[in-house]
């Protein structure tokens, strides 16, 4: 299969100008790079085999690496350092002494300390129930607040109710009756009737027999609350 023609045909099918462009790479490659690359790779493998990791032994392949170069390297560096710094190490004798037998027992001490540290430092495992407990506590708090709020509201309502009753109690029945006679209409009468009837266990009194002056305070209050009134 001629891959080149496939590529070009594909590009032409897309009406792409890339089909007619040169595909030469403009990058430069060092001279003779490919000639000696296999040698460089072999040297790397040999160094790895000896346990020496050498990154990028030679990017200038014409120089190469002498055999045994890295074997002698540490000794050469030490000799060079001593030649350049002859006084290196002088006056650096340690004036301090370690207690006798200190280093013999040190490994065991460190191991024991490490183990003790491990137990202290071991990560705290938070059981699932504990995690759930936090959510439960929040839920309980929310329920408590709602309960308090509801109770407060009820108290407020009752207070309001009691307050209403206290106020009504101050008004005489005659006054209440006069007010109703002046302001009540047929619709109101019907509502009153129904309220009285439901309170009396379903016994309905005749409208004509219904005297506002005979209504008790609770019934009046209920009526007023249903129809809405302002203090």
């Amino acid at each position: 299969m001629n891959h080149v023609n496939d590529i070009l045909d594909e590009l032409r099918s897309m009406s792409s100008p890339l089909a007619d462009m040169s595909r030469a790479m403009p990058y430069k490659v060092p001279e003779e790079y490919f000639i000696d690359l296999h040698r460089t790779v072999n040297e790397l493998l040999q160094a790895e085999g000896k346990g020496i990791w050498v990154k990028n032994i030679s990017s200038q392949l014409s120089m190469g690496i002498p055999e045994g170069y890295f074997d002698e390297f540490p000794a050469q560096m030490l000799a060079l350092a001593k030649a350049e710094h002859p006084n290196m190490g002088v006056g650096l004798a340690n004036p301090l002494n370690a207690p006798e037998g200190y280093f013999e027992g040190l490994p065991e001490q460190i191991l024991a300390a490490a183990k003790a540290g491990d137990t202290k430092a071991s990560p705290k495992i938070i059981p699932l129930i504990s995690r759930a407990g936090r959510s439960l506590r929040w839920a309980a708090a929310a329920i408590l607040i709602m309960g308090i709020g509801f109770g407060t509201y009820q108290v407020y309502l009752n207070k309001t109710g009691n307050h209403t009753e206290k106020q009504l109690a101050k008004i005489s029945s005659n006054t209440l009756g006069d007010y109703l006679q002046q302001n009540i209409d047929d619709y109101d009468m019907e509502t009153l009737e129904n309220t009285v009837a439901s309170n009396a266990g379903g016994i309905k009194q005749a409208t004509s027999d219904l005297d506002p002056k005979n209504l008790n305070t609770d019934e009046i209050t209920q009526y007023l609350n249903e129809t809405g009134w302002e203090e």
């Binding site: 299969m1 891959h3 080149v4 496939d6 590529i7 590009l11 897309m14 792409s16 100008p17 890339l18 462009m21 040169s22 595909r23 030469a24 790479m25 403009p26 990058y27 430069k28 490659v29 060092p30 790079y33 490919f34 690359l37 296999h38 460089t40 790779v41 072999n42 790397l44 493998l45 790895e48 990154k55 990028n56 990017s59």
Partner: protein, 189 residues
Amino acid sequence: MLPQMHETIQVDDQVILSSFKDERTRDTAFTQLVKKYQERLYWHIRRMLVEHEDTNDVLQNVFIKVWKNLGDFREESNLYTWMYRIATNETLTWLDQQKRRSSISVADGESDLSNKLVAQKGFDANKLEWKLQQAIQALPEKQRVVFNLRYYDEMPYEEMATVLDTSVGALKASYHHAVKKVEAYLVGN
């Protein structure tokens, strides 16, 4: 029989594989393998990394991996595809490591390569071949790989699917999008 090291004729992959399995001829086989594929793998990596030094590092890593794993190569794909897969993975891993080392974002990584491109010897923004490289560097990493493998390496989609572990359909779509993006870049610049 393997040709001698100084001979440069192309050796059949089967000969290389069978010679590699024999300890006596392993080194020679490996050398022939490196010589056979070095330039293709080099350019595949360089098109992604731009700089020669970075390419050299990754290419050496690729051949070291090939050496270590060639004995276990099961010939489910051809040798060329297998080596391309190693080279692609090493290149993408290297790019990720560079980004993490310098804590740069994906977008910054792409502009970093653009800067490397501009710094290349002989760079000329007015020349079409350099503009094409800039257009390709502007593609997302994976799409860039697809484009390079198809446009430069002329790799069939079926082989590319093995190299990149992606379906043929997805690769075709990716390549077509890449071509359109490159064209748009060239037209716009």
